[in-house]
Structure formats: C-alpha cells, structure tokens
C-alpha cells in the first residue's frame, strides 16, 4: 500500500536547497530538490521546531497539510508555500504505529489548527498539545474510532448506521413517481 518512491538523497541546490539547508539536522532525507518543488522527510520529534523555523522565513506560509495512511503509520505532509519565489516545499513526518501520535504545530502556526483537526477526524492521527481538538469534519453522531480516509475503510461496507433521527434517502423515488 505504500508508494515505491526512490528514497535517495537529492543534492541541495537553489532556493529549495537553502530552505532545506536552514533546517539543519532536522531533515533526515531529501527526496526531491528542484527549481520550484522540494520534498524532504523530517525528524517526527522536531515538527514544532521545524514549523517555527519555516514560519520565520521570508515570504513563507503553511499551504496545508496532507495525511496519508501508509504501512508504518500516518504520514503527515506539511506543504509550505513561498512567495514571491513560487516554491512549494513538502516536509514529511511519520506518526508511527501504534500510537499514531505527533506533536501539534497549531500553537506555533495558526494555519495548522483546522487541518490537524481534519486529519484527526478522518485518519485518526493524534496531535499532542493541540489547543482545540474537537471534531471539525465528521458529524457528532459518527461513531468513535471509525476513520473514513483510512485505506481499510470501505465506502459501502463500512458505512456506519444513520443516527436514529435520520431516515435513509429514498433513492429512485422521483423516477417512480414520474412513471404513469
């Protein structure tokens, strides 16, 4: 289920190289270092320190984060955009099984607040020290411990029952009424 990426150490060059170089030993692997895109893996214990450094850089902003269910846990990808350079640097940190926990960056970067709540809802990753870990995406009636964006969640077979105050939609009712 994991992606067969070529995990090679790409040489640091250009603007992306400067950004990744400034993070020092927090960067453990560099997968891609192009003119406008960079992808690197960072030490999952140092996400807060890295987020602080990235936000302090000129023209940076947190675009968003992506959570991916992979074999070893939940891969959390931080997409940092730089203007006016037009660069997107993606930093990956693994929230390893079985805890699936990683330090929250929401106290340092306000833009990380909602997206960490979303990843918690949909993938079940836990963000330590998050200031406001309430549900954002899922309804309050959705059962605990069911994470719809996990790879082992089937859209049809694993759909939880509707809450008692809701009735299922009447599929095909309009067509039936239309027939003479």
């Amino acid at each position: 289920m994991t992606v067969a990426t070529t995990e090679t150490q790409a040489p640091l060059k250009g603007f992306v190289g400067e950004v990744l170089g400034a993070l020092g030993s927090a960067v453990t692997e560099v997968h891609q270092c192009g003119d406008r895109r960079g992808i690197a893996r960072i030490d999952p214990a140092r996400t807060v320190e890295v987020a602080g450094k990235m936000l302090a850089m000129e023209g940076s902003r947190l675009g968003t984060c992506t959570g991916i269910d992979v074999r070893d846990g939940i891969d959390v990808l931080y997409h940092w955009c730089f203007e006016p350079a037009g660069v997107v640097v993606t930093l990956k940190a693994l929230a390893a099984r079985p805890e699936l926990a990683i330090d929250s960056i929401a106290n340092v970067v306000l833009a990380g607040n909602w997206i960490e709540r979303e990843m918690h809802d949909l993938l079940g990753a836990t963000f330590r020290n998050h200031p406001d870990m309430r549900r954002l995406i899922l309804d309050d009636s959705w059962p605990e411990g069911v994470y719809p964006l996990r790879k082992d969640f089937d859209q049809v077979a694993d759909r939880p029952p509707l809450p008692p105050n809701m009735s299922p939609p009447d599929v095909g009712a309009e067509e039936r009424r239309a027939e003479p």
Binding site: M1, V3, A4, T5, R36, R37, I39, L55, R61, L62, G63, T64, T66, I68, L77, H79, C81, E83, P84, A85, G86, V87, V88, T90, V109, L110, A111, N113, W114, I115, L136, I137, L138, P148, L149, F153, Q155, E174, E175, R177, A178
Partner: protein, 404 residues
C-alpha cells in the same frame, strides 16, 4: 463586568446561502470571541477519488464547488502533469487561461452582488448579477455549460474554441468594461458604503500570514501573494496584467481588490483571445509513473492546492484537496473580535466563504397529480436547447448594436 451571551448564526440562516454555523460570544454589542463549525456538506470527495482513475478525477473534483469548477480540475491536472512531466501544448494553456479568468470574473461579480445584498444595497445586487449573466453565457458558448465545464484533462483541454467563439468572448468582455466601471464607481464612490465598510473587520498582514490567508483576503491586507504571478501556470506569464492589492485589511480593501481584479481578468481574456496560438490542444499521456506532485491554482477566492500521490497504477493513492476558504474562514478569529454585531455580517461575507454548495437540488411537483413537473431528462434537454440557442446566436448576450 458585563454578561457574556452567545449569538448563533446558522447552521441554516437567511443571511447565508449555505450551511455554516457561527457562534458569536458577545458582551453587550461587542463580539469578544467567535467559533465556527463547518462541514455540513462534507461529501468525502478525497475518498471517492481514490477509487477513480486519473482520467475520471477531473470530473469529480469540478463538483467540489460550482463556482470554482475550473480551478479545481486545473490544480489537479497540474499536479498529475508534474508527476508525469507532461509538456502541455501552447494553445491548451491559453484556453485554460480564458476559462479560468471567465470564472474569476463571474465569481467576483457574484460576490459584489451578495455583498450589496448583505448591506441592504440591493441596486448593486441587481446590477452585478445582471452583468454577470453575459459572462455565464459566454462560458456556456465556449464550454457547453454554465458550471462544471468538463474542459480540463491531463495533458491539455477537451474542447477547442473556434475563431468566432474567441471573437465573441473578446466582444462581450469589451462591452462589460463600461457597466463594470459604473458598478465600481457606484460602490467605491458611495459615502454610505465608505462609512459602512472602512475600518471594519480589519485583518492585519501579520495575522493574514499566520492564518495562511489567501487570495483577495490576503491581497486586501496588502500581502501581494498571487500564484498566477509567483508560480506561473497556464498562459499567465505570457500576458500582461497586474496583481491588485489594497492596504488596510478592512472589508473595503477586499471589495476594492475584487472589483479591480475584474478589469485585470478582462484584460487577460482579451489578450488570450487575440493572441491565441494555433496547434494541438492536448498532449498524449501514456501512463502516470510513481511519484508525487503539487498543483496550485489561483481560484477566485485564493490559492487552491491539490496534492496527488501515484504508485504507478491507474488510480491516485492519495488526492488531497485544499480549497481557499479552509484557510480564509479561521481569519474571523482575528478580524471579527472587537466588532459590533451588525458589522460582523459583512465581515463574515468579506472572505467570500464557499462551502461546496452544489450537492443540493429541488424538485417541483404538481400539486394534483404528485408528478414532478420536470424529470432529470427534461432538465438536461432544456439545458441543451439553451446551449444550442446560444450557439446559433439567436439568444446572444449583449446583442450587437443593442443596449446591454
């Protein structure tokens, strides 16, 4: 010490066109905190995309939003083109630019109308929506549809535009300049609107950066960020245009940015229609290799960011979609606190929040027979007839020689 009260706006409220839930914590008339609940319309599109092939996904993601239905597929195909390293033909880049700028034009005019409506200035609402209609019509002429254009594909676009269509697009855009100038003056020179919008809902540049604000919300705070200029895609680096910013960060600044961006959009569309290069409209894409790509596009509300990961099969392993409102809505924490309650409504509207509205429909049923007046097939037929009429020119927006 005054008592703290909670005022609920939503989830369904006549003020707003979509389901969203704001809780204003107020002391007297002053807002001291705001809490937002979203996701009443979550449809799980990221999950659905994992079960679709790379070619099918553009048609799914254009249904994320009925207004940004050109930006989402474009961001997605750019992410995939980055993985597969596809060289997109020049003509396709220009065609993409035209559709995306027409989308920006109609979206900004829609917002100006709604903002007028929120303020009780319904004349602006009527004007803005009246002049938005010709833009929707030329989108229908060019792509066959008012929304969900089904125009983008990996490697290029699906539908070419004829010389007559390009001429028609240029003509209608040219004739829009006059009414838009009138509308801009009506908004920006109105002393009542100045009093109502200036220094209201201020978002400082620092807060805009911290919350990751995007598009007109950031540019209205003086942050000159625009993906079209910073990371040029489509044909934006081949035409002449300017990034519009406004200082202040108040609601007035955001209105100025949106109104002036309409003129930039017209400028871009006219140049693209005039300089359209000949040639192919799509490149052949054999397969999508393993890898990951980021595509971002400046949608009307700000940057739309798509991340795609491929494992070499015919479906994406992961497709992340981040619409601009996801970053813009949390800025209310910075802009609404300290405001009086009546000012909050327009501040909430000022980021042009968009919650993926297009999943709903209503059926009109005959009271006596209980049969629907129109079935789905009837509606499709009606829509096709309208497009045919537009293409024949019998129902042209801004008929030549006539008054608009």
């Amino acid at each position: 010490m005054s008592r703290r009260t909670v005022i609920n706006i939503g989830p369904y409220h006549p003020l707003q066109e979509e389901a969203e839930f704001f809780q204003l914590y107020v002391e007297g008339e002053t807002v001291v905190d705001v809490d937002v609940r979203i996701s009443y319309n979550h449809r799980g599109i990221e999950k659905i995309d994992e079960s679709k092939t790379f070619d099918q996904v553009p048609f799914v993601v254009e249904r994320v939003c009925g207004i940004c239905s050109a930006s989402h597929p474009l961001a997605y195909v750019q992410a995939v083109e980055e993985i597969a390293q596809v060289e997109v033909p020049e003509r396709a880049l220009y065609l993409r630019t035209i559709v995306n700028e027409l989308e920006r034009l109609h979206s900004h005019m829609l917002w100006v109308g709604l903002a007028g409506h929120f303020l009780g200035y319904n004349t602006v609402f009527m004007w803005a929506w009246k002049y938005r209609e010709p833009v929707m019509d030329i989108l229908e002429i060019a792509t066959g549809s008012r929304v969900t254009y089904a125009n983008c594909k990996i490697g290029g676009v699906r539908r070419d535009m004829t010389d007559e269509q390009l001429k028609e697009i240029g003509r209608v855009c040219g004739e829009l300049v006059g009414p838009l100038e009138m509308l801009t003056k009506a908004v920006l020179d109105d002393p009542v609107l100045h009093a109502r919008l200036k220094n209201v809902g201020i978002l400082t540049p620092e807060a805009a950066k911290a919350y990751g604000a995007l598009g007109p919300t950031a540019r209205g705070s003086g942050l000159p960020i625009d993906v079209r200029r910073d990371d040029p895609y489509a044909a934006y680096d081949r035409v002449d245009w300017d990034v519009v910013t406004a200082p202040g960060g108040d609601v007035f600044g955001k209105a100025v940015v949106r109104l002036l961006e309409c003129f930039e959009a017209i400028k871009i569309i006219k140049q693209c229609a005039k300089d359209m290069p000949p040639g192919e409209i799509d490149a052949k894409v054999e397969e999508i290799p393993p890898g990951e790509g980021v595509g971002h596009v400046e949608a009307p509300r700000g940057e739309t960011l798509h991340y795609v990961r491929s494992d070499g099969s015919n479906r994406p392993v992961r497709h992340k979609i981040r619409a601009p409102s996801f970053n813009n809505i949390p800025t209310f924490k910075a802009s609404c606190i300290g405001l009086q309650i009546p000012d909050v409504a327009i501040t909430l509207a000022s980021v042009d929040p968009c919650y993926s509205c297009t999943e709903r429909m209503c059926a009109v049923v005959d009271a006596d027979t209980h049969k629907p007046m129109y079935t789905f097939a009837d509606l499709v037929r009606l829509s096709q007839l309208k497009t045919e009429k537009l293409l024949k020119g019998s129902h042209r927006p801004f008929p030549p020689g006539g008054k608009p």
